[in-house]
Amino acid sequence: MTPNLTLCVLAGVLVAAGAYLLLERGIVRAILGLLLLGNGANLLFLVAGGNLRQAPIVGHALPEHMSDPLPQAMVLTAIVITLGMTAFLLAMAHRRWQLSRSDEVADDHEDTRLAAAAADDTAPAVVGDFEPGVDLTEPGVDRPGPGERAETSGTGS
């Protein structure tokens, strides 16, 4: 089989764009990134199916003239799964927005806490469990607070 160059290049572009978006802090952009990545993978399945021939419908074409139907069935499954997962991720992004009015994926608070404790050299670390909305980062630590990040993303979008 000769792979279709257009499909290959398109899959590559989608995966590259998806990877770039996934590296963003904003959760909605990351979701879009996952979607692009998923579509890139789906195109790869079409490439894997070999050369495009007639629709694989019994009675419509002879078996030797049909496209391979198996990758198409798999792509269909993958698309449906991506749809469901995207719905969940969007609901989660919405819930985040409801709770914190921010679209950003914050640093893990336990990590931040341990890092701050290590920087201050005060073991044992801060005792409290995470309080929602409270920035546990010490002001001395070189790291922007959630508020600052929210601002920059606000101007960006």
Binding site: L37, G84, M85, F130, E131, G133
Partner: protein, 542 residues
């Protein structure tokens, strides 16, 4: 198809049907509980029968929908699949009983959390599907089923901490699934099939470079799920925020699904010693980085999450040895670790209930105030650290013997790493033991509250709160610990399931002989591959 094969689809079907019924009856809490208990008990029964069947009648195969194996999906249960099914079903049943005792699905008839029971059942179905499937794409679907359910469980209640932990988990899991999906597409392009038995023959004919790419893609995809270093950092960030039973079932099952997939990759798809050394290095790094992380933690739940990562290294060690004894010991270790790690997380839930926190600086004197919880923690903790005569010791000895038998320098390095990791595990769990159970609470809270007076509002949280400490109105209705005099009583409904799990984990020692024989037989069968392939294609692979 023998009569036994009819049982093969049931571990997937029963939980899915149960989940459907459970959603329909979402407002009737008792009915939901009954459905979940009956469903999971039946899955345990079916899995036990399958263990017996694969032991006596060999590998069982079902062609779904009657399609020929080369076109349709096949479900294959060999010794390994059957054993994994049995252990995961038993563990899930224990967790279900615990969460019923905790009232996680809502003690109050007016405000149940109707999604908990169906999600747990769907999770079971997804896990079972990954264990029974003989088709690579169906394995992907199984992963997605269990992921969807786990997303719901990890964000249960939708509080801020859980949502942020949930997003980390969701993105990492979905990305790993995508890597796996790309691998499937490439494998299909290279071989024209996704049937694992057919792939066993065809992958070997590919050029070496192509094989390497496919192998690496699969290992990366599965490695993220199994939390193998350096793809393990997501786990300690996301697991601890979930309610105790959810963390317990995740810790027990989800990473082991990844380990199972790696086992299949290494034995069925890419047998031999390809990438063995890479896996050995990854195993060593996973063990050491994980356990050093655990030592640094001051929160019991996070500490245990790090030990979970670390002990994944032991299993990968056994798999990477690629000898019957190594793989057999790895399977035994998986069984041991599923049981013990789940039990420990359940006990952490009890500690949280009794002490009001999981922070080691806030807990104290629990041995006096809640002696039963102390016993329940001590036994599995020593088991995890590998103290004789517990199954952790037997599993580690098996791995070390297998390593010594291989005898390469790398294997000896791994043996050293394993021993060191065991010692550090002992240190980590002893820290939890002495801080939370032995030391007096007052003394320790003095140290902690001085540097952060602003945090004291958080420390006044009463022991009433059942779970990770969010002030969530749904969860406040859950189980409570009652204080009578100097002792704290945790609800019996949570104590008994935990005690049963502890007894089960100790029983693994009692049945260690037959279990080891079974694991070795499973390993021999897997490394031989002929059984698997002829069971799927009696007339020879196409």
């Amino acid at each position: 198809m023998t009569g036994w094969a009819a049982l093969v689809p049931l571990p997937v079907m029963l939980p899915l049907l149960g989940a459907g019924a459970s959603i329909v009856l979402g407002r009737l809490l008792r009915a939901q509980r009954l459905i979940s208990l009956v469903t999971l008990s039946s899955v345990v029964l079916v899995a036990a029968l399958l263990v017996y069947a694969t032991g006596t009648a060999g590998t069982q195969v079902v062609r779904v929908g009657g399609w020929p194996a080369s076109m349709g999906i096949v479900l294959v249960v060999d010794r390994l699949s059957a054993l994994m099914l049995l252990v995961s079903a038993v563990v899930t049943l224990g967790v279900l009983a615990y969460s019923i005792g905790q009232g996680l699905a809502g003690v109050d008839e007016d405000t149940p959390l109707p999604v908990y029971h169906p999600s747990l059942l769907v999770l079971m179905a997804g896990v079972a599907d990954t264990f029974v499937t003989g088709d690579l794409f169906n394995l992907y679907v199984g992963f997605e089923i269990l992921l969807a359910a786990s997303f719901v469980l990890i964000t249960l209640g939708g509080t801020q901490t859980r949502i942020s932990a949930g997003s980390t988990y969701a993105f990492v899991s979905l990305l790993s699934s995508l890597v796996f999906l790309v691998a499937i597409a490439l494998i299909y392009a290279a071989t024209g099939t996704v049937n694992m038995a057919a792939l066993a023959g065809r992958l070997a004919d590919l050029p070496h470079g192509v094989q390497l790419v496919l192998h690496l893609c699969l290992l990366v995809g599965f490695g993220v799920k199994a939390a193998v270093f350096p793809m393990s950092t997501w786990l300690p960030d996301s697991y601890p925020t979930a309610p105790a039973p959810v963390t317990a079932v995740f810790a027990g099952l989800l990473t082991k699904v990844g380990v199972y997939a790696i086992l299949r990759t290494q034995t069925l798809l890419f047998p031999g010693h390809g990438l063995s050394n890479l896996l050995l290095v990854a195993a060593l790094a996973t063990m050491l980085v994980g356990i050093v992380g655990a030592v640094a933690q001051d929160d019991a739940k996070r500490l245990l999450s790090f030990t979970l990562v670390s002990h994944i290294g032991f299993m990968i060690f056994g798999v990477a040895l690629a000898t019957p004894t190594g793989v057999g010991a790895a399977i035994f270790y998986v069984v041991h670790h599923i049981t013990v790690q789940t039990t420990l997380f359940l006990v952490i839930g009890l500690m949280e209930l009794a002490g009001g926190s999981t922070s080691l600086y806030r807990l104290g004197a629990l041995a006096r105030r809640a002696p039963m919880v102390a016993v329940l923690f001590f036994v599995p903790a020593m088991n995890l650290a590998g103290i004789p005569p517990f199954s952790g010791f037997l599993g580690k000895v098996g791995l070390l013997q297998a390593g010594a038998r291989v005898g390469t320098p790398m294997a000896y390095v791994l043996i050293g790493g394993s021993v060191l990791t065991s010692l550090l595990t002992l240190y980590a769990v002893s820290r939890v033991w002495s801080r939370a159970f032995w030391q007096d609470r007052d003394q320790s809270s003095d140290i902690t509250e001085s540097p952060a007076p602003a945090e004291s509002a958080g420390s006044t949280r009463s022991p009433r709160l059942p779970m990770a400490g969010e002030d969530d109105s749904i969860e406040e209705r859950g189980a409570v610990a009652t204080v009578t005099g100097s002792t704290i009583r945790v609800p019996r409904g949570m104590l008994w399931p935990t005690a049963t799990m502890v007894v089960l984990s100790v029983l693994l020692t009692v049945v260690a002989g037959p279990l080891y024989r079974y694991c070795d037989a499973a390993a021999t069968e897997m490394l031989d591959r002929a059984d698997y392939v002829t069971a799927v294609f009696p007339a020879g692979a196409p």
